[in-house]
Subunit: 338 residues, 4 copies
Amino acid sequence: MGALYMGNKPVLKVDSKVCIVMEQMLRLLHDCGLPLKDVDFLNSDGKTMNKLLLEGKPRMTLFTGSSRVAEKLAGDLKGRIKLEDAGFDWKILGPDVDEVDYVAWVCDQDAYACSGQKCSAQSILFMHENWSRSPLIKLMSELAARRKLDDLTVGPILTFTTEAMLGHMNKLLQIPGSKILFGGEPLENHSIPSIYGAIKPTAVFVPLEEILKDENYNLVTTEIFGPFQIVTEYKDDQLPNVLNALERMHANLTAAVVSNDQLFLQEVIGNSVNGTTYAGIRARTTGAPQNHWFGPAGDPRGAGIGTPEAIKLVWSCHREIIYDVGPVPSAWQLPQPT
Amino acid sequence: MGALYMGNKPVLKVDSKVCIVMEQMLRLLHDCGLPLKDVDFLNSDGKTMNKLLLEGKPRMTLFTGSSRVAEKLAGDLKGRIKLEDAGFDWKILGPDVDEVDYVAWVCDQDAYACSGQKCSAQSILFMHENWSRSPLIKLMSELAARRKLDDLTVGPILTFTTEAMLGHMNKLLQIPGSKILFGGEPLENHSIPSIYGAIKPTAVFVPLEEILKDENYNLVTTEIFGPFQIVTEYKDDQLPNVLNALERMHANLTAAVVSNDQLFLQEVIGNSVNGTTYAGIRARTTGAPQNHWFGPAGDPRGAGIGTPEAIKLVWSCHREIIYDVGPVPSAWQLPQPT
Amino acid sequence: MGALYMGNKPVLKVDSKVCIVMEQMLRLLHDCGLPLKDVDFLNSDGKTMNKLLLEGKPRMTLFTGSSRVAEKLAGDLKGRIKLEDAGFDWKILGPDVDEVDYVAWVCDQDAYACSGQKCSAQSILFMHENWSRSPLIKLMSELAARRKLDDLTVGPILTFTTEAMLGHMNKLLQIPGSKILFGGEPLENHSIPSIYGAIKPTAVFVPLEEILKDENYNLVTTEIFGPFQIVTEYKDDQLPNVLNALERMHANLTAAVVSNDQLFLQEVIGNSVNGTTYAGIRARTTGAPQNHWFGPAGDPRGAGIGTPEAIKLVWSCHREIIYDVGPVPSAWQLPQPT
Amino acid sequence: MGALYMGNKPVLKVDSKVCIVMEQMLRLLHDCGLPLKDVDFLNSDGKTMNKLLLEGKPRMTLFTGSSRVAEKLAGDLKGRIKLEDAGFDWKILGPDVDEVDYVAWVCDQDAYACSGQKCSAQSILFMHENWSRSPLIKLMSELAARRKLDDLTVGPILTFTTEAMLGHMNKLLQIPGSKILFGGEPLENHSIPSIYGAIKPTAVFVPLEEILKDENYNLVTTEIFGPFQIVTEYKDDQLPNVLNALERMHANLTAAVVSNDQLFLQEVIGNSVNGTTYAGIRARTTGAPQNHWFGPAGDPRGAGIGTPEAIKLVWSCHREIIYDVGPVPSAWQLPQPT
């Protein structure tokens, strides 16, 4: 829609698993009056689309998808592209424990709403030790236990099988000090086909020192597009380690700093680059598209969606037109050349 | 400077022909108080710089130079780049002839000031037939004749030899209907070394129909970074041909539409994509950095220099930080999960 | 609505002739969910409202109405007020005659749509002599003749009786050189009560020299809130006289400069102060609230309605809050006092 | 300067005590190239200036001075005025005690720099009881004791005599519970003429309950343009009383909320209307003109100085010019009238 608002003629290509939804959306738009020629809609595999992009040489491409394809396309298109970063989204709970009930509920929603299948889902939780002494984990566990198939508060996972997710979990559990906080089991009594995944909302604790080790880091920070999160703990003097862990992540979509301590907020926000960062005791990782900026901050390919500013930044541009209609002053005289 | 204002730590690399100037500039800045560690300055060839970029992975690179290298770098850096487009800059004189003295003077300055060695120099002039009947060309010729070595209103050309420029001209003159309007000769009585160029300010007329031919187009639109321009003429019904010639150019820095006819301005501006476009009877191709946007409009790698808006666009970024410090309303109750 | 968007609690008072409409609007808003306590609605005469303002001391008042009351209120409220200027709105046709059919239609709509009962209705038309030689007046006369009671393209006038309007016209006709261009008669065969007005769309020509005379100026520039306009003519060298006539008007709502001649546009716009000024060959005096700024330009009490910018300017304000949460640098030492 | 930047031709009138400084400033500007006719400078008493304003009817007046004259002028000029509010400026120390040394120093500077003769000087300090238990008052007393005539860190007071200031203090000391915290004595061994004032930096404590009493409120909140401040204390449950005291003040220039507690900041800022409000543990009442907005927030006569936004708001205006140059579509047909 943003592309259209700004007067472009876009070619729209949607992943084949979900393009049927977009096709219906387009038909709805046509029914509401969108001229048939304003958008081209392409059903194809990625290879065909790639060929189209290389030959059609569009002025601008907005790509949402895996970072591997993103990097390839950025090279293919010589940078005429904006990218939506992927999301292994982190949340940090600061030293000031407050509103535990509320924070627990936000954690539950951020990690497990839509069965964790949102690019902004909470993937890892860094918890100041003060929070370990609070009822937070117990509350999160109780909230996760409320979720059930009947009302779809848990549901099928499109891109990971049950085996894949539990296998990933088991690898994590081999890290010293790791343990299941809750979940970690397949759903039961369901008819979800085995090509999809079906597990209970799961949290796995991994010690911070282990996360930082080179041999564990990639494993721990692998995004599972399902109801699955890592939890860890840090002490006051370990904040630099936490920041180091964030710096090494290469996907920088959203993040949350749960604290009302302004100096703590400064420290964490000033040392991270996620595009969309929620801050404050009510911070979450997943919000509405009004606040949707792609990271990392400072990357010229990053952009946003939803707001007028984002739409103008991605789908329009500044062009400098300088009018000088005169009049030439009546006293004007020919100057010397330079 | 823009990079510094926005808090970056830039690495600065300048072409080896002129880097001595920039080094002095940096020393001046240091003398004025710039901390020594705020900018890194690199003297190297392009190959070394390329290696540095590939290994250092800067978040952002601003490149000014040839479009060939620009395209290579855009691919190498996967699009983390802003480019200053090159400039085969055009000027169009519209149907409304007015202020001929003034327009002639602007043409002279645009094409020949600094001996034409500005990226915004006027490289081609599309002249409505109404202007052919005016004294414009005669005036331009007289103005060009004022230029002389004594006061450096003509001077040495750094990147083309005299032979190269005259050779280019002779190729142009083989196109049917082409002719020298003025200039076309080497400078005399000078001590400029032969590795540099030295010619009189030159204008070559080429008929529009010939310019548009595939076999001539690339030759005619080759940028000569010296006191050299193409002049052509169009009739009312040939405006689409002119616009077609513009559309085929791949360098889109600056442009000028010399007319106070609003519908004509709309037509030309709406059908071109140059980053910086001057419009109105006093329009020029070359102005101050306050109005310096790189084209083509719509290319996400384009940007600008000089203005606060340009500096923020190139050297800073929008980052979305959403504060939600509460308080949680006292009446808040745990909602159902989703 | 603007006041509400910005978080104010407004008291709304509408002229007693039309407040019944606003009451229904408020009931609709309540039905849509507007909290009952968000707006206070007052049905009263002006005297009571004046007392309320003096005693209640609202931070801001927006007043739309006669300029006499506006000036009184501005004094009473010590300037805590924004005013919508009244409108004896002018249109100037420049020297470049073009699109006569279109311009005639715009004139007809500007002067006579809603029977001229819009604050932005065209009250006086300054016509360059070139337009006198065009079919403009003839076309305007034909368009006015299309209007009829059956489809309410003419209708009852709420604030002037037929006698009052024709009486005003007769006074104008005593000015030397004045004449009726068209209209000037009461409507026939209708049942409009005599407390309202009912005349045909009317245009009266008055020579420019006569308009400028002190004894005629106030009469000619008296706003008739009905289907009534003055037409006059000027020659090239009389433009300063036209500008002088504009300068002497004290109501500066909307205006139109019908010309695509950029130097003419500059001259007229640069020498007038109307809040909303339409410019270009298609210019009109009456448009949508998206372009509704109250003049005179430069009056701090002027403002606008409809756009985000206008709403923020009138109903919100800049307030400077400077956060400085620290930290105090660890190296901070007590400075000397000053 | 702001008025000039925006293209106005201002008349400048400065208080006769200090106009000699401005005259020199103007001469400096003329020497730097300001055209002699760009500013008119008037040396006169207020009565003459008032006459000039009433007869000259300037489109806009910016007035800085006493609130009594401000209100008179606002009425005289029917609101064509912007006002700089006067300043009985308050500072509130929140419940979170931190950086006591730094806060004490800021208090000393805010209250006593320039001998308190700044419109943004700290006039009253509301101190949470937690701060009473800190060394704050002792530190402030020591800092005040550093000030001496030799280096002009205390100096002559232009608008109050020593007797007037000590008389005011003595009246305050009759309020039950009041006491001198430090200062309260005339300066000694000086040659300051008796028409000026000369006292040591002074702080008088008055209990909050007494301040709020109708019979004391006006006395306590009388601005002394000298090195003089009120200090009081509040308990957690007395914050509404503090806010009430602020609400009753009618001069709302600057203010400071010294706290990093975000909910406390929200509460105080959301319930006050000062134009310029500093917030955070390092907050001060007096800063540079870059942050100078006149309150109260929400008053349409308020404005600011120094920043581009302020200059545009005070000395320029939005004017809506809508260009519609066409072309009229070739398919346009005459519509029905409305």
